[in-house]
Amino acid sequence: MFPAPIERRALPLQWIYKVALPIALLLWLLPLIAVFLTSIRSAGDITAGNYWGWPTSINLIANYTSIFENTPLGKYLFNSFRVAIPTVIGAVAMSCMTGFALAVYQFRSNLLIFFMFIAGNFVPFQILMVPVRDLTLQLGVYNTATGLAMFHIAFQTGFCTLFMRNFIRALPRELIEAARVEGVSEIRIFWFVVLPLMKPAIAALSVLIFTFIWNDYFWATVLTQGVDSQPITAGLYSLNGQWIAAWHLVSAGSIVAAIPPVAMFFLMQKHFIAGLTLGAVK
């Protein structure tokens, strides 16, 4: 283990480490802690300029109900789910198939198609912006959650394919060969042999894609406008314009917007990190 385990060091050093840990964390998360404290302040605190001291009164429930009652935040949240969930299902389903095809079969354009997915995954969004917006308009899904989800499914399929293909390649090939010898059809090999083994990869990708899409802001501004279709990221930004100087409400809104991905991360931590750190270890 590197650095050397702290238990092996001198006792004072161990104590310093144990004290330094929470302090470092506090400093690291200071912006977030401040946001949380502000989200429970009263409007009076805000006008009096009491941003950083202890709140004079705790308005947790009042502020959080206020943002839901007086603004379409709930609607924005709902839209985010309407975009993120279909994207997760669509992109994961597509990439299970593409990943399987690229990992299991040897054919001439295999590597070429694989590289197409990887390269496409890295392009700057701006080079897609104008044509994708145009396409979305032509398909009649501009300004709908469906239109936004359709683009996300397509784009995320690139990353997911890279992930799935590498995952399936690491599975024991003998399983597939054995099934073929038994005369099992290719589709049944996919469904009954490979797919059950892909559960960890599916879990990892699902949490990762959910978070990516939930946090997307660029495409939300390009492909949607207005309360009926905008997800929470874009919605929060437009609310910020209306809530000038109402920092307690902005903060409460930010916290609400952050809850689903944070909850997802904590519940599925193992899978999340497995997905994110793919390739970080050989």
Partner: protein, 294 residues
């Protein structure tokens, strides 16, 4: 089972690939070429396109705002890379086995999980000249307030600091995973050879962390070149366009309130794309080498 005289094994991959390849072509690959083609036209997004050859690029070559954005992109790229050593540093700090360390690791990772919109709002507020924490601290220490986001000199750096926060968390998690897989025998061997501290890190540990470093560089470079969210949220490219990056400038041109200039926007996007191509090719080349060695 045979279909059209083709064996199942030949046909199967294409059937599995069809839906994914189809939508990826429609939404990602073809639009790249469409954008390149649009960059040779004058187009407001609604009416007729007029072919104007290289005129968009000629105009770009003489556009100060373009150079400001390009320069900012370079600053982003260079400073964003600081996330890598910073992430390594935090990972080394947290790579211990004390009580509760798992929770610490998760909490340190937090900034990456939340949206850049939230990060942007939080930091705009941190920099707020009248009540922001940064300026309260500065005033407390006897300095004048610095309106970071309203000052042309500091604005880009201010935004990059906000971006470094989640990016460092990302690199940290990559390194933590890497450190987990470091071969303990080599470390012990190093200790026997009296390697310590920096020497151990440089000669024994870092070489083993190479995959983590590679991924960190890739995601950080891509992240820097994709910077848009924070600029849009914190400053809208201001003051006076001084914090624009290519990604934001393109958006502004294509959808500006003074009329849509899709062709000009596309030309900016093409330039950004060409910069990115360098990295994509490098990445693909490395993957190709790995595949061949497989």
């Amino acid at each position: 089972m045979r279909l059209f005289g083709l064996s199942q094994r030949t046909l199967a991959p294409w059937l599995f690939l069809a839906p994914g390849v189809f939508i990826f072509l429609i939404y990602v690959i073809i639009p790249i070429f469409q954008s390149i083609s649009i960059s040779f036209y004058a187009w407001d997004g609604l009416g007729e396109k007029t072919y104007i050859g290289l005129q968009n690029y000629v105009e770009l070559a003489d556009d100060d705002a373009f150079y400001t954005s390009l320069k900012n992109n370079v600053i982003w790229l260079v400073l964003y890379l600081l996330a890598i050593p910073a992430g390594l540093f935090i990972a080394l700090f947290l790579n211990q086995n004390v009580w509760g360390i798992r929770l610490y690791k998760s909490l340190f990772f937090f900034p990456f999980v939340i949206s850049q919109v939230v990060v942007g709002l939080v930091f705009s507020w941190f920099y707020d000249p009248s009540n922001g924490l940064m300026n309260l601290l500065l005033n407390g220490l006897g300095f004048d307030s610095i309106p970071v986001l309203a000052d042309e000199r500091y604005v880009t750096y201010g935004i990059i600091v906000a971006g470094l926060w989640p990016q460092t968390a990302y690199c940290m998690i990559l390194y933590l995973t890497g450190l987990n897989a470091v071969n303990p025998e080599q470390i012990e061997a190093g200790r026997l050879d009296n390697a310590k501290g920096w020497k151990m890190l440089w000669y024994v540990v870092l070489p083993q962390l190479k995959p983590a470093t590679f991924i960190s560089v890739v995601v950080t470079v891509i992240g820097a070149l994709r910077s848009f969210d924070l600029v849009s949220i914190m400053t809208k490219g201001g003051p006076w366009g001084s914090s624009r990056v290519l990604g934001y400038y393109m958006y502004e041109k294509a959808f500006s309130e003074y009329g849509f200039r899709m062709g000009y926007g596309a030309a900016i996007a093409v330039v950004l794309f060409l910069i990115m191509i360098v990295y994509i090719s490098y990445f693909l080349y490395k993957m190709y080498r790995d595949e061949k060695g497989y």
